[in-house]
Symmetry: D2
Subunit: 347 residues, 4 copies
């Protein structure tokens, strides 16, 4: 273990923290040496997550109890706002992958508008790299602080960015109808996410007002070179994991659904985690549970000039902890697939 | 019972047949006197549907065994194509409500194209009334043969028809992203609808090719006065009942989401089963299980000029058997709410 | 409405309160004229329970705001302990049906032991009638205060009491392995009942220590004439509603599973809500959702001298609010089935 | 790959076949070189199991097309009866792990009675080793043909065998109330396992008549040294994976629930896959999804002399394919945990 990288997870009692532990249990080059969870400090992990009973892990402590001089990389899974203060106080040589929304928006004014308070670490923000690995790989490799993308933004941007870069779709007519499993809401007890309130039914929420909207628009605007405003409508579906984004676009004159598919195929041909399906096919979230893959299908619409893109991920893996591990692998120069090769769990 | 209307249900062993029995059990003016189910002929209903054990019902028989001279109204829940032949052979004085797709499309050429065979009763088709009750009430009241609308078409047309009639939305830019519970696929055993294949996951299906598309377009075209082509993308969600349609529209110049909502409020102000929610609200399918209601929310989009409409029903009730009972009530001159006043089941 | 009985529901914001409103919406002889819910006081019911939007109901108020001189009967759905104080303060002429555990145990010392505090109304306790309708019908009809049974106790006692009365089973060898849907845990947000913690898995809880144990033992002891101690092991199953109790008994010499079934058939032959199935059959909770029925199957075991009883109810109906309505009907001299004749919702 | 063992899976299109592929994807010492599936012959695996799209696997063929001279070990996942004939025809040097019930019962007369036809390979039966690894490890290591245990029998026998060997429980009073997820019924489309029939409800089935009964009794009888007859009552629960067996036993005089727990602790102290929990604790199936673990809790009953044992596994892993891999590891002399160290998937 002497030559393994030493990892700390802050906010280990949430779902993304647990998912990091699950994935890193099979990673040959890292050792989790510190776990922080304020309310669960002093407890072993299995007391909070019995499914991890078979994994050798340190007990959870308060953040203050961690000696960060002995840590090589921190995964930060804390709530927004708290995160900014905590990361600002970490030693400057420490690599950090932040799974919160705190460093995703480059425009701190936009952050303040959507999150309701001033940004607490605007200088640090300037150094953060947005960790959509396939899109920002070189920057991620060189980064000290990676802002790991949100779940919806990952599902939406992976198919849209290559198309906008090539100006193959109209930037003013993008509709993202997204459906998410319930784990996206986190583990804290909330009335709306009790079993009896969620099972056997579905609903839209945050219509035209969800906080992932500016994050998606930021990525699309960069890709297009001009500001892009989108429709983004999330829905809650009775499943634990998974996001399915149905994206409705108008393609540019001279191209077609096939043209869009060709562009995506070319963009992701060498990527281990992004797959573009042949014409006529789309994926079920059920076939990606536990995996870091994003699967994309492209369809011609009956409405002339329009195409439909179906993009599917596991929100806790490619949409959170899996992409974080992928980014860590990139930052340390390991193959990005390390510890991410377990097939999905089905059924 | 002498003065009760005598009802037969053909295709009683499917979910829509069972749902008719559930609803009619509380109807004061009708008696179910014949039930036909080819494969279950000879069996009591409780052997096929134990939940109906407490309802007094005749045993199931083959269609040939029914004396239709003693029947006042037939609900036909048979598969398409079969239906046309069966209904064509019924006595002409018999009222008929058909829950299949067989008489919904006025253009029999369109029928042949989408269903893969010639229409078997084109003359009868000309007499059929499309039973979207709130839209075609007068015709339904006078009808001998009602084509009961499909589940998706009900959820989509109720909000869109009043808006298209008033030319408040662009007809060339309508996207219907619809999510359905699994009962919409019927009761027959199919590999894709086994529990382990469906639970805890979701997928799109029939993208840009679902047979409910021409039915929706027919209604929208009539409302607008010119042909309307739409995007319609259905999804399968792990829940028994419910449809949630997220509809993306471009509103006409000079109006707004509020204007659309006002139009819908005016159109449905006196309707017992269609409810338009105040700004900011939308419904969950979970709050409509077992009821004949359609609940509609309207939102302004962030994309200028666009609005979002969320329309929710129970696919087996307002989307099938409940609307059929509503139509029967209209045809016999009873209050439309008769036997449809049970509150939804929650949780 | 002048001649309708006036009903108040205290604790209207919980699931049993909502279920009372659903059932009473179809009751011809009562009007709900007051609803109390401390935290939701001032709100309309639909704001808390959107599925009841179509039912005409008064807004919720604090208990203090109710003029009980204008109420004929109170359903009390408050938490235990609170309940005792509230009911003790009600006018003496008011009929009360209490859905909490506060007046179920006749032995207030046992109450103190299992619930952790002294009973606050021991004198009132002496007047309470245990409302297992089929067993205590005459006492219920004459009661002023009915202690409505718990969900598990209803499922367990209905099959066991007739057998113990006839000494057909051994009192020292009764095992009740019970499985419940999640609504039994109530509507308050608790970490253990979040969707992601419950779905797609199951667990035992309260093994050999659940508070419904003394309630079941009280009923069985009365039936047998001597103290009976049982094994009672509850389990949490990912479904909204339903209890299935698998009961393992040793039958007395000279009898058999068939003999037990005959006894139950005789005991419940005229009961509208309790059904004994023929040999070889048992029920699914899925076929009872929303109904007040209890369905019982009896099987011979492979172990000589043993029998297996499967008893199924909807925990929120026969296990709570439905039985409460049944008791109200009995107390007012109406047919017990009034407002309880809606068939179950399936699928 | 030259030094990897070559593996064939017969019946690759069922859930146990798919689960073998999922687990073996991470196995360092084997290569899957042949997959047989009669109806899916000619197709790639991803066409049948999209979740395995990322795993390099041969296309599926008919059994006849496999050159077994190039195979080192066969996993046989075929239906019963078929299995006996197929295995009898395999080369004698080939190692075989059979996941069907065909070679589990040593008494071929009992097989004929429970399965309704004569055993087709009685001589081969005599050579089969029952592969409950922790119990029969030495025999498994030396075996040519391993009969992999059923899911329910695994969950029931692991806690009961050590107790019966030590005569700590009464052999005539064992009740196994078992609850299973739906994947135990396999992947073929059957009406009873359609989503809408299973979700949000539960039922008992095969009461006192399930085919796993003689398998459990065989193991318990061997452990006790005399014939043991048990109660075994299976239930179907709306979850994909998992078995929870609630086992009710009478302990011998002079011992207690604590004594039983001590025995189990001693028996499994060194086992990587069987865990005995401290007093007061039991497991949820949800925390074992995808893993090869069996977790056991022991509780004192309120009924004097009785104890309650809660045993939990994933039916597709420790109850099928995981134990099969564990047995393969034992047969080839590899650490039994090889390829079985992935943590469970939660949530």
């Amino acid at each position: 273990m002497t030559d393994k990288k030493k990892i700390a997870i802050l906010g280990a009692s949430g779902y993304t923290g647990a998912e990091l532990m699950r994935l890193l249990a099979l990673h040959p080059h890292v050792a989790i040496t510190a776990l922080a969870a304020e309310r669960s400090a002093g407890q072993p992990v299995w007391a909070v997550y019995p499914h991890l009973a078979g994994v050798a892990l340190p007990d959870m402590v308060k953040i203050d109890a961690i000696d960060f001089s002995k840590i090589d990389l921190v995964f930060c899974c804390l709530p927004h706002a708290t995160t900014q203060k905590v990361i600002a106080a970490l030693p400057a040589n420490l690599k950090v992958i932040d799974l919160s929304a705190d460093f995703r928006l480059k425009d701190t004014a936009a952050y303040a508008q959507w999150y309701g308070h001033e940004h607490h670490a605007p200088d640090l923000q300037k150094t953060a790299v947005y960790g959509l690995t396939e899109i920002n790989r070189d920057a991620v490799r060189a980064a000290r602080l990676v802002a790991n993308p949100g779940c919806y933004p990952t599902a939406a941007q992976l198919p849209l960015i290559p198309l906008l870069r090539k100006k193959q779709i109209e930037p003013g007519d993008i509709i993202v109808d997204a459906k998410s499993g319930v784990s996206g809401a986190g583990r804290d007890a909330k009335p709306d996410y009790q079993y009896c309130e969620v099972t056997d039914g579905m609903r839209a929420y945050g219509v035209a007002s969800h906080r992932h909207t500016p994050e998606i628009e930021q990525g699309l605007s960069e890709a297009f070179g001009k500001p892009v405003t989108i429709n983004f409508t999330p829905h809650l579906v009775p499943m634990s994991r998974g996001i399915l984004a149905s994206i409705y676009v108008k393609h540019a004159d001279g191209t077609s659904a096939n043209g869009l598919r060709d562009t995506l195929n070319a963009a992701y041909a060498k990527e281990p985690f992004v797959h573009v399906l042949p014409a006529g096919a789309s994926a079920s979230t059920r076939n990606l549970r536990g995996s870091n893959h994003c699967v994309i299908g492209v369809f011609a619409d009956r409405v002339p000039g329009r195409a439909i893109i179906i993009s599917v991920i596991d929100n806790l893996v490619k949409g959170a902890s899996g992409q974080a591990v992928q980014n860590m692998n990139a930052m340390f120069g390991w193959p990005e697939t390390t510890a991410l090769e377990q097939p999905p769990l089905f059924p």
